[in-house]
């Protein structure tokens, strides 16, 4: 089979609206590769996104897509998955999308643990709205709006996810397609909610966190023999974001009670739509009202 599936399977003829050199291109490439290597078919995929530069990605992959509202990819993705657990569901968005506007869904979707993959293109900036600080912007970074520098401390998606015992927590870097592809594959294969935060240079608006800036700092957790089953260690690593920035798989939770949302609801074996039929006899229910 595998040799018949070609990477072009996931190409579309949509014009790509990103700036030349943007980190998003590599994320797109890595994701297509991951789908190819996992032998996915376009019709098995559902890519849900919010609004932002990152959130345009689904249009560039030949698949089912739901490009919804800014900040709301996760509830759409979660519900679609619970209704049709046969779909491979990915939620995609920017750091503003996923952690700012969508922050509440982020923390509560982790709690639900649906078997979906969340990909955050973390360029530490609001791209589409032209360069305001995002929740993950570095402290002190100057932007057009934050003229005296960002005064909020950065949101740490990894430490929050690990603190919430999230089932899979990882960070990739758009400058390393190999590693990113491998992380994405593991995330998609992981049964449960998988977070992939991706360091993504925005060449137009983020003049601080450039390719070079990241390149000088990133290292692979694998190289340090990091044990992803150790929550405490994962937390320690998640706090590291300065001269050194770890990438790879921080945390993987295999505890028993971490059944997926679909399992807990009892629809992981078969799509809900196939389970329930329209012959709904409510006679017995009505009799309770006498």
């Amino acid at each position: 089979m595998s040799k018949h599936i070609q990477p072009q399977l996931f190409d579309t003829n949509q014009e790509i609206e990103w700036c030349p050199g943007c980190g998003n291109f590599n994320i797109l490439k890595a994701l297509k590769r991951a789908f190819t290597e996992l032998e996915k078919k376009p019709e098995e995929l559902l890519l849900c996104s919010g609004i932002g530069q990152a959130a345009k990605l689904p249009h560039y992959i030949n698949s089912n897509i739901y490009n919804g509202l800014h900040g709301r990819a996760l509830p759409i993705a979660t519900a679609a998955k619970i209704v049709n657990s046969e779909l491979t569901v990915i939620a995609i968005g920017g750091d503003g999308d996923m952690y700012g506007e969508g922050g509440n869904h982020f923390i509560h979707t982790i709690r639900r643990n649906p078997n979906i993959t969340m990909i955050a293109h973390d360029n530490q900036i609001y791209g589409l709205t032209k360069g305001q600080a995002s929740p993950t912007s570095n402290f002190g970074m100057i932007t057009k709006l934050q003229k005296h520098g960002v005064i909020n401390r950065p949101f740490n998606p990894l430490s929050v996810a690990i603190g919430l015992n999230c089932s899979f927590v990882s960070r990739g870097f758009a400058g390393n397609i190999e590693q990113l592809t491998s992380i994405l594959k593991k995330a998609i294969l992981h049964k449960g909610f998988a977070l992939v935060d991706i360091l993504q240079p925005c060449v137009t608006f983020n003049k601080l966190n450039t390719y070079k800036w990241y390149q000088e700092r990133v290292y692979n957790l694998d190289d340090e023999g990091h044990d992803p089953h150790d929550q405490q260690e994962a937390f320690r690593k998640s706090l590291e974001f300065g001269d050194k920035i770890p990438t790879g798989i921080f945390y993987e939770n295999k505890e028993n009670y971490l059944n997926t949302y679909e399992q807990n609801v009892g629809v992981d074996d078969q799509a809900l739509t196939k389970k329930s039929d329209d012959s709904r006899d409510i006679t017995a229910l009505m009799l309770e009202f006498t």
């Binding site: 739901y66 919804g68 709301r72 509830p75 759409i76 619970i82 209704v83 809900l272 739509t273 006498t290």
Partner: protein, 578 residues
Amino acid sequence: MSVDFNIKIGGEAGQGLQTISSALAKTFLNGGYNVFVSHFFLSRIRGGHNFSEVRISDEQINSKKNSVDLLVALDAKSIEHHYDELNEGTVIVLDINSIESITKEADDASYFDVPFTDIAKDISGHKIYSNSVATGAIVGLLCYEFQYLADVLTRAFESKGDDIVQNNINAAKAGYDYAQENYATQCYHMVIPKDKTTNKILVTGNEAIGLGAISGGLQFLSAYPMSPSTGAMLYIADNADKFNIIVEQAEDEIAALNMAIGASFAGARSMVTTSGGGFALMAEALGLAGITETPVVIYLAQRPGPATGLPTMTEQGDLQFVINASQGEFPRCVLAPMNPKDAFYLTVKAFNIAAKYQIPVFLLGDQYLADSSFTVPIFDQDNIDVEHWVLSSEELDEIEEYKRYLITESGISPRALPGSSKHLVCADSDEHDEYGHIDQTIENRIKMNSKRLKKNEGLVKEIFPPLEYGSNDSDITFVGWGSTYGPIKEAVDTLTKKGYHVNMVHFNEVYPLPQETVTSILKDKNSLIAIENNATGQFTKLLYSETGIKISQSILRFDGLPFTADNIIGKLHDMEMI
């Protein structure tokens, strides 16, 4: 003999008013009566002063009555607050030991002391049975056959074991006997069972909407709890397993509607339940359903606003909000049930319309409808059709190239589900082309926006005309919408009996309004009077703006309480119309 008897039970939150009213209601329902149960609660769990009313009639009733024929006082406030509502000779049943002090003299009313707690302890060993004693005493005072109550208690406590059932029955019987033995004339009022097989049920609006949703094919419900809608969510959750329905408590209302939309996109018939404040948070997602043409049903049970307002009371204050919510322009439909029977069928209709037109459809109820129990005939399931309007596998196989947003004559594009075939399904909250991909050209914009709005033409034909009731040739026509149906109808009946020529035109499918039909019904009527449970006459404005029919007189109520026929008639007097 014509029965129209109103029992009011007052007490603190947590004293079990609903247990008593529910047992009484079913007892009389099963004896062939029409029963109507309404509640007044404060937004608290314990204490304060709440009350429930059980109205028993041999005619169809859908509303409260102002005057009280029997008052059960579980606290002193019950007497203070409701003293003015009593008729001459109304009996006040109470356990004098458990009430601190009584400030009202018994002139018109007479007290009847029943030691609820003592009897409960004596007979069944615990004061928790005192509500059953009270219930029994009331049934006794009405000289109604005890067996009906015994049956109701049996079914109510069945799941808790035989002992508990027996204790409750014993307590009730003791109360019953105590009343008959100690009340001066044995029967305070005589209510005789009529008919054992009535085919009637006693349901709240919330339950009827729950039943309608189940019957109408609901598969996914997401909601964030909010009074007075939570009852519908709970009712569906209680029965979810039997019908493979998923009920999800969302982290907030934004998630709730987005989830329902995601579920619908993936193929499930889906719904949210909420109230005005929760819906406010859904306004953006409403537009998402609009532009992605995703069917979804929104049950909004209104309560008085603005903001938190009066969380446990009733109002019809959100009509203009739901009609105009969300940026941009797209079709939607608003159905406003008159009573639980109507709520049941309209809920089924809501799902079908949502599916057919691929739009959001509102069920606009209110606390009065949501929480009150109405007697209705058993719902007829024969004509329930669950219409999916989704392309079948065969149809999909035949399609060469699938376009989710194909431009069509009707504005409705063929709907496929993602993963159901090799065709890909793309949806986008941006303006998009026929494939569902972002398209910012002006040519496309005109086509797509027009296509969506085009659906209104078909939609308006689905709307049933308003209900007309009362004498053809009338001096006064009441115009109402939604849950005010009951009190208005009763006002028409009462006034008709008194010889007045009044009738009513009542709207339960309120948006979009079929202009010609509505105009032809209303244009020649004399003295239209709008009746609305709000302060600004929102439906009156809608009617005017959509049909040009201007109603210049109105009876508005916005104090948090529902109308009664008496209110309406009283207002007519004030207005010197009668």
